[in-house]
């Protein structure tokens, strides 16, 4: 009973604040800002990309005020659980390992096949040296395959490693590598692809069930009216729903 009263008072208070400020609660969205087309910093120095548009739309539907912050990929989960921001929206694939530490909303992209980018079509991805970003599904996939894994802190560095010959190929989400292969004549996508990961979702603290439900509902509504598919098509981030 006491809890109930407290919760009601808290709710009443926050509602009061919200009214006084003229806007709803502020939710801080943490992203990496270095993984186009999902998220990147545009020429104006702001977070842009598929997830920026998606996140803004989701916040509008859930009636939340959202603030964008960038954080290094390596420490993106520790900073979420210690409360420096409220949501991770950074092209993070839903995996069991991560699910033990944080919660995920439903996926907002289909599982995107991971592709290899290499200098030549006959690169040895089974026994050679393959680059991947640290703490990604691709890194753990290569670690358990026969190839030698080299890890880098940023996606950019993994591609550079292939270009300067440090690695035979790089494994990453196909939607990240495709524009690079398109723009750069030296590198190409291999035909072989790996189906790993369960789609990308928003990471939310386990204790923050209410926020998770709000975003889940917003994602469902975007899936239903087709606006999510339109965004996926616009930014070319894999298959539609």
């Amino acid at each position: 009973m006491k809890k109930l009263i407290l919760a009601t008072t808290a709710l009443a208070f926050s509602a009061g604040f919200a009214l006084a400020d003229g806007h709803a609660t502020t939710v801080r969205m943490g992203t990496e800002g270095a993984y186009p087309p999902y998220n990147f910093i545009n020429d104006a120095g702001e977070v842009d990309g598929f997830e920026r548009e998606l996140g803004d739309e989701l916040c509008a539907r859930a009636e939340l005020t959202c603030e964008w912050v960038t954080n290094e990929w390596d420490s993106i989960i520790p900073n979420l659980v210690s409360g420096n921001y409220d949501v991770i929206i950074a092209g993070m694939s839903i995996t069991d390992e991560r699910d033990e530490v944080i919660d995920f909303t439903q996926n907002y992209t289909q599982p995107d096949p991971s592709a290899y980018l290499a200098l030549s079509a006959d690169a040895d991805v089974a026994g050679g040296v393959v680059a991947a970003q640290t703490n990604t599904i691709q890194a753990s996939f290569i670690a358990s395959s026969g190839a030698t894994l080299v890890e880098f802190a940023t996606p950019e560095e993994t591609v550079t490693a292939v270009k300067n010959g440090e690695a035979d190929a790089v494994l990453a989400d196909k939607s990240y590598l495709a524009p690079i292969a398109e723009a750069d004549g030296d590198v190409q996508l291999l035909e072989q692809e790996e189906l790993i990961g369960g789609g990308v979702g928003m990471g939310i603290r386990e204790s923050d069930g209410e926020l998770k439900d709000k975003f889940d509902a917003a994602i469902t509504s975007m899936k239903e009216d087709g606006s999510l598919n339109a965004l996926i098509a616009k930014w070319e981030v894999g298959a539609q729903f």
């Binding site: 270095a34 910093i41 104006a44 409360g83 690079i180 723009a183």
Partner: protein
Amino acid sequence: MFSYCTDPDTLSGLRWLSCYLTTAKHAGFYWSFLTVLTLLAITAPTALAFGFGGASAARSQFAPLRWFGKSYIAIVRGVPDIAFFLFFVIALDQAFEWIRHQWKCPDWPDAIRQGNDFVVCAAAKLPLGTAEQWVHEVYGFFTAVLTFAIVFGAFSANVLYGAMRAVPKGQLETAEAYGMTRRQTFWRVLVPQMWVYALPGLSNLWMVLIKATPLLFLLGVEDIVYWARELGGSKTPRFTDYPHGDWRLWYFLVLLVFYLCFTKLSEVVLERVMKKLTRGQATLGGTT
């Protein structure tokens, strides 16, 4: 910025470059130089104050204070910087929030630690969840200053501790013979004379501090190295008006020049300070 920048695809050469270098993103890069300089300007005196406090504590007559000073110096000097910057800041932030939580929300029914999560009531959040982005950035900046000050304070405490012991004993005995109290001897004789012995060590620390500023990015502050990496990385035409290859080398060359100029300038200034401090001292430098 310039009127001809509306369609960068049609530009080439210097005109393209002038547009490229004046994008809003580059403004972030230029601001970050100011961030680094401000950090140094605030951190250096703060660290020196920490060092002075630590050194004075370490030579205190009062045993617990002495133990505190000595263990501060020993522990912080022994822990690798990177571990300090990765974990200490999160711990520091959580400690602040925990204290505020106890004070502001004593009736909070839930646990603060819920599994992996650290959850305090909304009023105890630092800064408040509703605060503007710049408040978060300023707060991040000050935790950075505090962390740098604690780390470099320990090193400078050791330098100052040594410097205090290097002041000729005869000076202190003379002060005592004049009837000065311990406190008077400390402030009027020991402190003015110790700087000349401390300066070489402190100038080393200053140089190391300048070069340690890239650790800022670990603390979530967007510093010059972050921007150089971000701007220099190759850009595909789909996501920017100014596509280019891997230009990190050029950006890092700019940083190299910046750091070299800055350390050179510091050397010149420190040399002058040294000259000033050695005048009239009973050292080799003072006699010439």
